[in-house]
């Protein structure tokens, strides 16, 4: 009878699992030690140099003005409020930019694949031009070369004395409704719910009987007629606040700053060029057999695109599209170059300089961009899951 001998391979340092754990432990300790060193060193240096730390400054009065704010803001508000104003301005330009870039990008991507030689080539020229010029230059182009040469306020371009355009921005009338508008908003909401129910019903109807119901046109008609009737019945009145030149500037109505316009145009056009390429790639990834099969089933061109091509193309499009959205949000921080009051310009710029809290502020700004990006990723991942191939 032989006793199983412990050979050298069973020694503990020869155990791959044990060795793996040791190395992982060493690496982890090194990383922790590294960061601990940085933290203690930074704290020490801040203290030695007499730089105050902490977040107390957020409650101090800001004392400076901001030209564009989506919430009430004046000089007596706190640094904390400038943070919120900055975030909202960043979100405004980012979200409008994402919507417009998506529309333009899809349009250009499809145009790029058009059978029409001219349309296809024009789309190609657009994509290759704007994709290959640095974004900052494009922002400068729109701001200085296009919007910077508009006339002075007293020589404004005007359309029917309602809309004005000058070097200070675009001025449009803003509607002011009487109290009845609440009913109109409510009716729009109710109509949207109705359309959703109708859509489910139509889907079931088609499954059961094969008959199709024109949901789209019905929905459009309902959205116009129902709120329209509510508007008349509730006796809502609308007055228009028309901009007019008073003193130095136009007052009243809505002002769209040239800084905002320049940034939005540049971000939209630049990002749309990338989205166009992504859309083109997505559509081309759908196998030709799918098209042939759908034609064989007798689908019309529109139906083929909507029911066969797009759903399959989306699976390829969504992940890189998400990256483009993230890029757009992060690129919006170039606003500081032309004085649009976004998060970086206001909070990491003026507030940082007035309060001197560089580390805290930069950290907060980074955390905001990280959060916005993660939220966009999350939403796009949920959407991606829904569009993903369902195996049956």
């Amino acid at each position: 009878m032989t006793v199983p001998q412990k050979n050298s391979s069973s020694k503990i340092w020869n155990d791959p699992v044990f060795r793996g754990r040791v190395f992982q432990g060493v690496v982890l300790t090194a990383i922790i030690a590294f960061f601990a060193f940085i933290v203690s060193n930074t704290l020490h240096n801040l203290e030695v140099r007499g730089i105050s730390t902490g977040f107390g400054f957020l409650n101090q009065e800001a004392g400076f003005g901001i030209i564009q704010s989506l919430i009430d803001y004046n000089e007596t508000n706190t640094y904390g409020r400038t943070f919120v104003v900055g975030i909202l301005n960043t979100l405004l330009v980012s979200l409008v930019g994402i919507v417009l870039a998506t529309l333009l990008g899809f349009l250009m991507g499809i145009a790029r694949l058009s059978n029409n030689w001219l349309i296809s080539k024009l789309a190609a020229i657009y994509i290759e031009t704007f994709r290959n010029i640095p974004l900052l230059l494009q922002i400068f182009f729109w701001y200085f070369a296009v919007l910077g040469v508009m006339p002075h306020p007293r020589e404004s371009m005007s359309w029917g004395e309602l809309v004005f355009l000058n070097v200070r921005g675009l001025y449009i009338p803003s509607p002011e409704f009487s109290d009845g508008i609440t009913f109109v908003y409510a009716s729009i909401f109710v109509t949207l719910i109705g359309i959703w129910i109708l859509k489910r019903w139509a889907h079931k109807q088609q499954d059961d009987t094969g008959k199709q119901f024109p949901v789209f046109y019905t929905a459009i008609a309902a959205l116009i007629i129902i709120p329209g009737i509510t508007y008349l019945i509730s006796g809502t009145t609308t007055t228009w606040d028309v901009p007019a030149l008073r003193g130095f500037n136009f007052k009243g109505g809505i002002t769209i700053l040239p800084e905002f316009t320049a940034l939005l145009l540049a971000l939209t056009i630049y990002t749309a060029a990338f989205i166009a390429e992504i859309v083109r790639a997505g559509i081309q990834s759908v196998p030709k057999g799918q098209l042939e099969a759908s034609r064989a089933l007798g689908l019309k061109n529109g139906q083929m695109l909507r029911l066969v091509v797009i759903p399959q193309a989306m699976r390829v499009i969504i992940p890189p599209l998400t990256s483009q959205y993230l890029n757009l949000v992060k690129n919006s921080s170039l606003a500081t170059a032309i004085g649009y009051p976004d998060l970086v310009a206001i909070f990491a710029g003026t507030t940082l300089n007035q309060s001197g809290q560089a580390i805290e502020i930069i950290f907060m700004v980074m955390a905001v961009y990280l959060t916005i990006s993660l939220v966009i990723s999350l939403i796009m991942n949920i959407y991606n899951k829904r569009m993903a191939l369902v195996e049956r």
Partner: protein
């Protein structure tokens, strides 16, 4: 909790992670030159001439410190900074001296870990408007669009002034003074606000300087001066007394031209200043001829003023409050003894 939070924060930042420095003086000496933070281009204060050399009263302050430390005013590396960048650059050790038309305020002196080494120009904030709009006083500016540089005391004074006078305004902020002047030039704003000295400097850069005028109101006190890091008294002393030496030299009539003759002067004040007698340099831990080198290579305060912003320059600014204390101004150096 706050402690944990701020710890978490600094851990993400390598900003100030450089090891704590030894004295700036030792650092600078071992480097062989000094990093001096200046503006990105402001005529009269810190601006490059056609040969690409830095000129101006703020530049002269950098040179004076270099002359005191190295005996050579040219051993300066100039780092152009925007208003937003300047304090971080000094705090993080990227520059050794900040001489960039920076206003001395309590907040900056305390919370930022900085020390102001004196005042080299007494300024005040003003407004510049286009003559076309026919405004004669800043009190007529209600509703105006105002171009202003981001991250300055100017931005705060502007808000205070309009609020105090119950007027509204729209601020357009840019990073550099050139950008604000450009925006003013093409009509983006009605008013350009800045320190008055800067307004005169920026006006000569406009397409048509004669169309713009500076309004009479001065709405703030802006004592501008060189800045060093807090907690380094040795270096603080050198910066402070280099500036004082220039002012004292003017008071005693010592100029760039006559400084060599002045070493033979029998005036004990001049003898101490120029290191003929006494150990003034030794107390500052620099060469005993430190002030001689400053005056020989840079000149006294009055010479620097006239050359850069005064009658000998395109700016043509009067001495006014920047004259010596015994000539109706504010400039007053503590005695060098």
């Amino acid at each position: 909790m706050r402690k944990i939070l701020s710890t978490a924060i600094v851990s993400t930042s390598l900003l100030v992670a450089a090891t704590a420095q030894a004295g700036t003086l030792a650092d600078v000496k071992s480097k062989g030159f000094m990093n001096c933070g200046v503006s990105t281009g402001l005529p009269g204060f810190s601006n490059t001439d056609e040969k690409g050399e830095w000129k101006g009263v703020d530049v002269d302050t950098c040179k004076a410190v270099a002359a005191a430390v190295f005996g050579d005013a040219s051993k300066v590396k100039y780092v152009p900074l925007t208003a937003k960048e300047r304090f971080t650059a000094l705090q993080s050790g990227e520059i050794d001296l900040l001489s960039r038309n920076t206003t001395w305020t309590l907040t900056r002196d305390t919370g930022l870990g900085l020390n102001f080494a004196g005042v080299n120009y007494y300024d005040g904030q003003g407004f510049m408007v286009s003559k076309k709009i026919g405004v004669k006083s800043a009190l007529e500016l209600d509703g105006a669009t105002v171009c202003v540089q981001a991250g300055t005391t100017t931005e705060l004074n502007l808000a205070d002034y309009f609020r105090a006078n119950k007027m509204s305004y729209k601020p357009i902020t840019f990073d550099t003074s050139d950008q604000t002047a450009g925006a003013f030039d093409n009509g983006r704003c009605d008013v350009l606000t800045s320190d008055q000295s800067q307004l005169y400097a920026l006006r000569i850069k406009l397409k048509n300087p004669a169309d713009a005028e500076v309004l009479p109101e001065v709405i703030s006190k802006e004592p501008l001066g060189p800045v060093v890091r807090q907690g380094d008294d040795e270096w603080f002393n050198i910066a402070k007394w280099s500036l004082n030496a220039m002012i004292t030299a003017e008071e005693l009539g010592v100029t760039q031209a006559n400084v060599d003759d002045m070493t033979k002067s029998t005036n004990p004040n001049i003898q101490r200043l120029l290191g003929v007698t006494g150990e003034m340099g030794g107390k500052l831990k620099v060469g005993n001829d430190w002030a001689y080198k400053i005056i020989k290579q840079v000149g006294n305060y009055g010479e620097s003023f006239e050359r850069n912003v005064g009658t000998g320059s395109p700016l043509k600014i009067q001495r006014g409050i920047n004259a010596l204390w015994n000539k109706g101004g504010f400039l007053y150096s503590p005695p060098i003894r």
